[in-house]
Symmetry: C2
Subunit: 223 residues, 2 copies
């Protein structure tokens, strides 16, 4: 297919597609002449993945590139791919290690991981991410108690087990891998949205007086 068709089918401007090719997110089309190239379904699928990672996952271009590079690399196994994705998602703001409070927070994290006997690499970005949150909470005068943390840990385990269990290793690698990436990034958004909704619900029952005690208004739908 032509680039204009690719554009129509993906919903992305031709210029953006060109940009993605320049950035190495999308392979070039098969050149049929100096000013002509042929694109196929793989391009379209890749474009859809990029779109999902950008629009839903809100990943920067550089992160998307790292992910698709790993997806395309047949020598990368499923578990390593997960690692790549998590590095790409990483903590958006890098911590600076000279901070004394940082060291403490990071040690708290390491202690928790050790106690849970989780197989998490020592330099996994998730450790930094968690430590950063701990540090911020401490600085705000909200110390982390393990009992406070328990429900989060249980929820995390519940979900992770479900997710990894849902990955089917059958079929061709490309499909499996794309599914794994999408699950990781998109269901994270699903989880976040559901948590916020549940929060609103529980909060409404507890503090909300404005909402009538009856059912949520049915007909009041709309934007």
């Amino acid at each position: 297919m032509k680039v204009s068709e690719l554009s129509d089918l993906s919903g992305l401007p031709v210029q953006t597609i060109k940009y993605y090719i320049r950035e190495g997110l999308l392979p070039k089309g098969a050149a049929t002449a100096a000013t002509r190239a042929e694109y196929d379904d793989r391009h379209l699928e890749r474009l859809r993945l990029i779109k999902a990672l950008r629009e839903v996952g809100d990943l920067p271009i550089a992160s998307v590139k790292r992910i698709v590079t790993a997806v395309d690399d047949d020598s990368v196994g499923l578990h390593d791919l997960l690692g790549t994705v998590q590095y790409a998602l990483g903590p958006r703001t890098e911590p600076h290690a000279e901070d004394s409070g940082w060291q403490a927070a990071r040690q708290d994290v390491d202690a928790i991981v050790a106690e849970l006997r989780w197989r998490v690499l020592p330099d996994a970005p998730t450790r930094d991410m968690l430590a950063q949150a701990f540090l911020a909470l401490r600085r705000l005068g909200l110390p982390i108690v393990l009992t406070q943390l328990r429900p989060y840990i249980e929820a995390a385990i519940l979900i992770a087990e479900h997710e990894v269990g849902a990955v089917s290793v059958e079929g061709e690698r490309g499909k499996t891998v794309q599914t794994a990436v999408a699950t990781n990034v998109l269901y994270e958004q699903v989880l976040i949205a559901l948590r916020r909704m549940a929060q609103e619900d529980v909060s409404a029952r507890r503090f909300g007086e404005a909402a009538d005690s009856g059912e949520p208004p049915h007909g009041a739908g709309g934007p």
Copy 2:
């Protein structure tokens, strides 16, 4: 205290503090002369909150502003504050409603919320957020099954109940409110980090190095 002290204590450059004041994130110091102003602990605390929301929550300045404005407004109750925070967090990428697939995704979301009898406002941004994820999943050929969703819903409820239960309504409003905001934004990061860690753990056990059969991962791991 002087602005330079505030800078030292908060770890933010003086120029950045000035910038935050310009943007309305931080109130001006009490002017003692034309070129002198006095800052107090409230300024420091606010700065720490801003820092946490920016660095951990990764919120744009405009969102932080909306949040602190609500925090400062005594007429805003706890539940409404939550709403403000959720609007500020919102879906980063706005959906365009003309898409036909969007309508369907959004209806799926509304149906789920209705079935769960959750008290979520009809125009809550979380609905759009979830619909966006649904739409992206569908476009990638990964339809959403309710059984797939169950663990997420259960986890969300588990966490939300724990969180809202932890909010103490006693004490002065300022503290309560700051705690509520911090809980919302920072523990979201905690949850995300924990989920990713748990994923790595489960994945390591399943696909990790000690792989027995199937495809041995070619150690070309992280970046």
